[in-house]
Symmetry: C2
Subunit: 599 residues, 2 copies
């Protein structure tokens, strides 16, 4: 079987970089220790190896189809969902009170990464996890009792139903309506939702939509949006009754052809009931809990797929002979393996540095999610702020760089990479959508620059600076990391200055100018964040190497981290030099432009 994820790398990040053993000292995670982590990871790998990875390509070829109002998926999907549900993974991160395993997020997300790297269709059960989490956090006891057990055991699918034809990036404009009935908390829902992942299919008995709608008479804008549970079949007196949610079709996506996105009609015949979650008009803040989780999830999918592509191209590069070194002039010399060519190595290191850098950040964010949950008051508040600040990057960096990384994997194979004998063309098609899911990259640029860096007078930014400085202090202590620690320090100073200049200029020139190049600011910030993650990894690898590792594989593993850190600082971080100039040009062409000259 081809490698698609490195659990050696995950264990390195968890135990050696983040120090998850300490996390288990908190009461909430008392059931977990190093051994339990190992066992959980092994279990995830086992499911992935047997039920996910072997079906990845096939679930694209025999894609989901829509016919006569019904969505038919690959028969393996049911097995896949059941395997993950039976492993306890859908409820894993939820509290024991609602039937969960109260597993640390960082461990749960390491497992998710494994599942996603093996087969993107693992998204189905974890969409359910997100929906269940919302019900668990904000739903009434009745909702919990009615919906959670069947969601946890994988027989019911959960979804997040936000997007409408006229409301994509702009949720303000949601029109789906909710009219109170005689029963408190029960509403008649009417409207349509598009691009609903997992929105209808035959591998489950029911679909539970966590649906945004506007209660009649609610205030305009985002402050008038409420959250409802709207099932496909509503439980009534022990039976499941049709709830007038119909599937109008599924989208013909370029990739993720097993993972359906549905166009749904709610209440066309007027008999669609929705059950209010929490208080009226607070739907968007509630949904953002799920959304933030889904954003990390999108990052995990992207990083997982880039990981699978990396190992495919690495294997090929170590097996394929072609060409000779530039200094060899004798055509009778045998060809070398392509891994010997500098340009191929550059392409492999690009993939490794961006993918493992993204994975490190995703684990870091998951770790913050745990601290926000179990830390003392200050620790928790700080961790929450850091998570808020870094989520746009944890979502966007793996999504954007993953596209480039899989493209680079294809390039490493040449013509073979473009053909379906290898899974790279599929990964390339699949991974493209992550930069669109859960807020496009542009939306995340607006989020980080327009909200996150300045919230609470920039407190999150200051906390982030402290985290980076701690790594710089540590990195300065060793010869092999000191030069990179210094570079990171300089970049952090540059980012701080840049941020201040943008904010000051924005106060003068207005929001349009301030936010015009927010996407490029996100790119810049992302490079600094991933450099920080590489410095942390380099420090941990150096520590291990200082112990005189005598197992060859282990030594290579740690050395590979040093090499990838160096690659990142030498080849990736300098990209900030281009971005800095672009961002400091405040005479924004894209603001002053008259659209008629766009021809």
């Amino acid at each position: 079987m081809n490698q698609y994820i490195s659990h050696r790398n995950l264990r390195f990040l968890l135990y050696e970089v983040l120090g998850t053993d300490k996390l288990c000292q908190h009461d909430a995670y008392a059931d977990y220790n190093h051994e339990a982590f190992d066992m959980a990871l092994d279990a995830a790998k086992q499911i992935s190896d047997t039920q996910l990875f072997p079906f990845y390509v096939e679930m694209d070829r025999k894609k989901a189809i829509f016919d006569n109002g019904k969505v038919t998926t690959h028969p393996q999907l049911k097995v896949l969902i059941q395997s993950i549900a039976e492993g306890g993974w859908i409820a894993a991160a939820l509290p024991t009170e609602v039937g969960g395993l109260q597993m640390p997020h960082v461990l749960c997300n390491a497992a998710l990464l494994t599942f996603y790297a093996a087969n993107v269709n693992a998204c189905y059960p974890f969409l359910t996890k997100g929906a269940a989490n919302l019900i668990s956090s904000f739903g009434s006891q009745a909702l919990k009792d009615t919906y959670l057990p069947a969601m946890f055991d994988g027989s019911w699918q959960g979804t997040m139903a936000l997007t409408e034809p006229q409301a994509g990036s702009s949720l303000t404009d949601i029109l789906t309506s909710a009219e109170p009935t005689d029963t408190e908390g029960v509403y008649k829902i009417e409207g349509q939702k598009i691009f609903i992942s997992g929105g209808d299919h035959d591998a489950v008995d029911n679909v539970v939509h966590l649906c945004l709608a506007r209660i009649k008479g609610a205030p305009a804008g985002t402050k008038g949006i409420s959250l409802f549970v709207v099932p496909k079949f509503r439980p009534e007196n022990g039976d499941l009754v049709q709830n007038n949610v119909t599937c109008a079709g599924i989208y013909g996506k370029m990739g993720q052809k097993g993972y359906i996105a549905a166009h749904l009609m709610f209440g066309e015949q007027g008999d669609c009931l929705g059950y209010l979650v929490g208080e009226p008009h607070k739907g968007l803040p509630y949904m953002f809990q799920m959304m933030n989780e889904a954003r990390i999830g999108t990052g995990l999918v992207a990083a997982g797929q880039a990981s699978a592509a990396y190992y495919t191209s690495l294997k090929y590069a170590k097996e394929r002979p072609q060409g000779r070194m530039p200094s060899s002039k004798n055509p009778l010399d045998p060809p070398v393996l392509i891994v010997e060519h500098a340009d191929v190595r550059r392409m492999l290191l690009f993939q490794k540095a961006t993918t493992e850098g993204g994975i490190a950040l995703l684990m870091q964010c998951s770790f913050y999610a745990d601290l926000a949950h179990v830390g003392n008051e200050e620790e928790a508040a700080n961790a929450h702020l850091l998570l808020e600040l870094l989520t746009p990057i944890a979502k966007s960096y793996p999504s954007e760089l993953g596209i480039q990384s899989v493209s680079t994997a294809i390039q490493t194979l040449g013509g073979a990479g473009y053909c379906d004998d290898y899974p790279l063309e599929l990964l390339y098609r699949d991974i493209r959508v992550n930069a669109i899911y859960e807020g496009t990259t542009g939306i995340h640029g607006l989020d980080i620059l327009g909200r996150k860096v300045s919230m609470l007078n920039g407190k999150a930014f200051i906390l982030f600076t402290n985290e980076v400085n701690a790594a710089i202090t540590e990195g300065a202590k060793s010869d092999r990391t000191a030069v990179f620690a210094q570079q990171l320090g300089e970049k952090m100073t540059e980012l701080t200055t840049l941020t201040q200049k943008i904010l000051v200029n924005g106060r003068e020139k207005g929001a349009e100018v301030m936010l015009a190049d927010a996407t490029l600011y996100l790119d810049y910030f992302g490079l600094v964040v991933i450099a920080w993650q590489w410095l942390k990894q380099g420090i941990a690898a150096e520590k291990a190497l200082a112990q005189n590792v005598d197992i060859e594989d282990e030594k290579q593993f740690y050395e590979s981290k040093i090499v990838a850190m160096r690659y990142f600082f030498e080849y990736e971080l300098p990209k900030t030099n281009a971005l800095n100039g672009q961002l400091l040009n405040f005479d924004k062409l894209t603001v002053s432009l008259d659209s008629t000259v766009l021809v």
Copy 2:
């Protein structure tokens, strides 16, 4: 019908930027003038609008299939090939002596760009054109008489058969053998070729392979490779006889599913005859004529597809309302068209600046090809050198940036862009391969840095510098171009210094170090070249605007050029700031690395 190419832009480049009217003063092009150019362009557009563009998506959906040794294509393919052949386009650029129209390359390539933008399957007849050109240039009169007429009328397909399972980027390692027969110039061919575009299909009566093989006893390496015409059916006594060329299958490509790539077996039963083209052992230099033409062709395909994607996303951006301006806080304000958002404009300008910049370079190179053909001795020699120097960029820049550009078009549409209601997902799949065809981007990096910049003591580089300086001098004269002329001057100086440093360092440290980051050098060089093309376009647009253009569309067109020039200098050219640092680091990680630490 959606727009896929701008002929206003092509006419601007031909008449206003390059000044093709002067070209027609040469005897060889005496049949052409401004009016003839217009008519030819209109004719190409007419075929594209009726026979190419309407079938583009369908030829992907009903893709070519291989069954029982036969390749079946979409029925439209035959019509497409015939339409292009009947328009005289296959022979257009060839001399009248062999039945061509002696059309200037720059005009022919403007037409090709149109065809490719409309439907990538236009590659079939122009592959034939390239093969016919080789026979026309180097073949015997008998070969010309036998093959050219049927190739020109579109009933026979031409191919270039280079790649073998063990010889992809490394043509040195070709094994296909040619054994002399009793008839002079006729050889028995045996071997296999892979990834042969147009290699076998049912829309033609015969396939003519221009095939590289090694005559038994030939020297090792590239100096022992000869070129043969190897037809699928060989003409004998007025009949077409099976020539023992069989198709073992076609590749399952991610895109270009109508444009087949075949795995071919030559002489498995020992009855495959090949006809030597020109002299023995000179096959590779001959083939490079076709290859260089094919490289420009690949650039044209990429730029054409990026153009089609650009107009699709531009149209969408001007029709789709979503969101409000950052300074608008009232949810009751109506949403704006997304073309009003700065980030969307940035994405559109990225596409426009990179795509039209690439098209300008392709027309510039085609113009040099004409000058190399019709200029006086010095002019011709210089134009040939400039063409040699710039071909790696004319091939790679549109291919690499085209991938990003189509990806940006998808991002502009969001979720809709990822789905097959729009042609963007198809363009995205199609365009990916151009960075692999006709030498991967890495190969072109080696070509420009390892050969082209230093050939004839750097003469081509000096000629290029002169061309750039001429534009800078001209640009300095107008307020709106002067600032960019100055920037280009600085970058040209930086590129010159950088090149010298790399060459000097290479003499000290060897070819491995010198060429390690050749791909990044190609990127750098490409940015300067396209900046030069934008300055030239800006100068021409300024000249036109100075005449007080009073037609609104025309004014917008010229203003759009000024805006795109500005975008390129403000957002694209600064990318050299990152590359410069990477390239000046001569302690190359990718050379010193031990491959075992790539895990």
